[in-house]
């Protein structure tokens, strides 16, 4: 049991440090340290509890076992990552978001369509689109193409709705100014309306990152070649190889977070002027 007590002591110490940091410290470091400490404390408590109660590996493997599984299966994990995330999620994401942006610009030319599309699109964006996964697998086969198609269907409407809403966001006054400069449709679109739509578009793009990873993994539950994260998870659960499952979950979480962080980073570069991105002085 001593492991558990050590873990609990660590937890309390981490909590105390966090309370102290939250009260006193300011600046960048103070924002980074508490969540990291909290995460570490959870891991330590998990490890301690699994060891102290001798939890069988088929229920919950300890973090150290998971780390060992990651180390031992790097090749497999990388292959699955390439199959699911790079081939399935990224290509579907790029096509879906690209198509949504093009359609948004087209629809935007007609006010009637814009008004009609927003409620319909908002409703469709709320639907459980993952359900199309079996349909796409019948259409496009077991390869990565069907996964990309599911991702396409999932990201299309959230991005479309946000882009259409964003394109209406440009200020009346700014548009009039562009008119007085004798700017044509395309100049206005690229110099004024797309930039002012960017915060909305990035909102959609960020939502879509999570959806893309989900879509690519779920689609693999309906049929896949003998690699891919969804395939590995379902077969590993079947054979009770839980450390492998947790290793895949770790990779999925890491990929999802990095993907989101990457889009958020581009957002900060592109929309540096927006109030929500300004650094508080």
């Amino acid at each position: 049991m001593s492991g558990l007590w050590l873990a609990i002591v660590f937890w309390i110490a981490a909590w105390g440090a966090n309370v102290w940091i939250a009260r006193r410290a300011r600046g960048r470091l103070a924002g980074m340290v508490p969540p990291v400490l909290f995460g570490l404390a959870v891991l330590v408590l998990w490890e301690g509890a699994v060891r102290a109660f001798a939890v069988p590996e088929v229920i919950l493997p300890a973090p150290s076992v998971v780390v060992a599984a990651i180390g031992a299966n790097l090749g497999t994990l990388w292959g699955d990552f390439v199959q699911t995330i790079v081939k399935g999620a990224f290509s579907g994401y790029a096509m879906g978001c690209g198509a949504a942006l093009v359609v948004a610009v087209l629809v935007d030319r007609s006010p009637v369509l814009t008004r009609g599309l927003l409620p319909v699109g908002n409703f469709v964006a709320a639907l459980p689109i993952v359900g199309v996964a079996p349909i796409m697998v019948t259409w496009f086969g077991f390869g990565w193409q069907s996964k990309a198609a599911v991702v396409f269907a999932m990201v299309f409407f959230p991005v479309l709705v946000n882009a259409v809403a964003g394109l209406t966001a440009a200020d009346r006054m700014h548009r009039d100014l562009m008119r007085t400069y004798a700017a044509g449709y395309w100049t206005t679109l690229f110099k004024l309306r797309l930039p002012s739509a960017a915060p909305f578009i990035f909102n959609g793009l960020k939502i879509a990152t999570t959806l893309a990873v989900i879509g690519a993994i779920v689609a693999e539950f309906f049929g896949s070649p003998t690699r891919g994260m969804g395939f590995r998870i379902s077969t590993a659960v079947g054979s009770l190889a839980l450390p492998m499952v947790w290793a895949q979950i770790f990779v999925a979480a890491l990929a999802g977070t990095l993907f989101y962080g990457f889009v958020a980073m581009i957002e900060r570069r592109v929309t540096f002027w927006h109030p929500s991105q300004r650094v508080r002085g």
Binding site: W15, N18, V19, I21, A22, R23, A30, G31, P34, P35, L37, F38, V58, I59, V112, L113, T114, R115, G116, L117, P119, V120, F123, A126, L127, P128, V130, G131, V132, A133, P134, I135, V137, T138, W139, T209, T210, V213, I214, I217, V218, F221, F222, M229, G230, I233, S234, V237, L240, L242, V245, W246, Q248, I249, A252, A253, G256, T257, F259, Y260
Partner: protein
């Protein structure tokens, strides 16, 4: 609202037209194939007609889906295993349970975050990160865990319901959390000072100021959360070998090659989503009236 009806109908019309065109285009190969075997040639009119009535089309025509949906909803006894109402109810049960759990979790975390700085510093970043983790990767795990630990039996419920509920709750707590943190912080400094001059206790300023002013944010986030909860319930049914529910229905239909049933289940899920969102809207209006909001 009235000004929107016509544009919405136009958009829906366009979608229907595109759908019919795709139906002809995608099912044509099969028609040509059949015709080629018997050595006939098909004209365009015949082709269009033949693509609309196939039993196992690549893409069923909208009216076929509508017929299958109607048959699933009204054509069967509600208790029948073939009834979409029955499967819809199973899914909705898990959705509502997960939604309720998600609300409780989201609101209590939000209250903690608003009142304790340390919770904001530690929990908030992880709540954000938790949403970038694809829950579906965890879904089979959660099912195995709740089965081996027999969580359901401990609570007097089905194990399957428990795992679906956990997944729904995981997906729905985050919108509520974000909305409530915003909402509870929405009273401005002047209003907070006013309550301080009236010597209001912490509980009173929560009850009379922060909670009422968070309500619009709360309901806005509920609409997002209920949709997320439904996705969670359906995803929870997909990889878990569930035998009941709309997700399970889709899975079975895909494995046995019944596209009509698959599409009908998909649209039944859409109907359930619409009903749930309308339901939340109705509750919001009732709550607004009860709290004395003037439209």
């Amino acid at each position: 609202m009235k000004g929107k009806a016509i544009p919405v109908l136009i958009v829906l019309g366009i979608i229907l037209v595109i759908w019919y065109l795709c139906t002809v285009w995608m099912n044509a190969a099969w028609v040509y194939d059949q015709a080629g075997r018997t050595g006939r040639t098909v004209g365009f009119g015949e082709l269009v007609q033949a693509t609309m009535v196939q039993e196992r089309p690549m893409l069923p025509a909208p009216h076929q889906v509508a017929a299958a949906l109607w048959d699933g909803i009204a054509g069967q006894a509600v208790t029948s295993k073939r009834s979409l109402v029955y499967h819809g109810w199973v899914t909705m049960e898990a959705t509502l349970a997960g939604f309720a759990l998600g609300i409780v979790l989201g609101v209590s975390l939000a209250v903690g975050i608003v009142y304790f700085r340390v919770m904001e510093a530690t929990v908030m970043p992880w709540a954000v990160i938790s949403q970038t983790i694809p829950i579906v990767a965890l879904a089979p795990m959660i099912v195995v865990l709740s089965n081996t630990l027999s969580l359901g039996e401990a609570l007097g419920l089905e194990n399957r319901l428990v795992s679906k509920t956990i997944i729904s709750a995981y997906l729905s707590f985050f919108p509520v959390l974000v909305g409530m943190v915003k909402g509870l912080r929405s009273p401005d400094a002047m209003q907070v000072d006013q309550l301080a001059t009236w010597n209001a206790s912490g509980w009173q300023s929560f009850k009379y100021l922060r909670l009422p002013s968070s309500m619009p944010y709360f309901f806005a986030s509920l609409k997002v959360a209920i949709a997320a909860a439904l996705v969670g319930a359906i995803v929870g049914e997909l990889p878990t070998g569930a035998v009941e529910g709309l997700g399970a229905r889709m899975l079975v239909a895909s494995q046995f090659g019944q596209p009509l049933l698959m599409w009908a289940s998909l649209f039944a899920a859409a109907l359930v989503a619409g009903m749930l969102i309308l339901g939340v809207g109705a509750i919001q209006r009732a709550a607004d009236r009860a709290m004395g909001v003037r439209p």
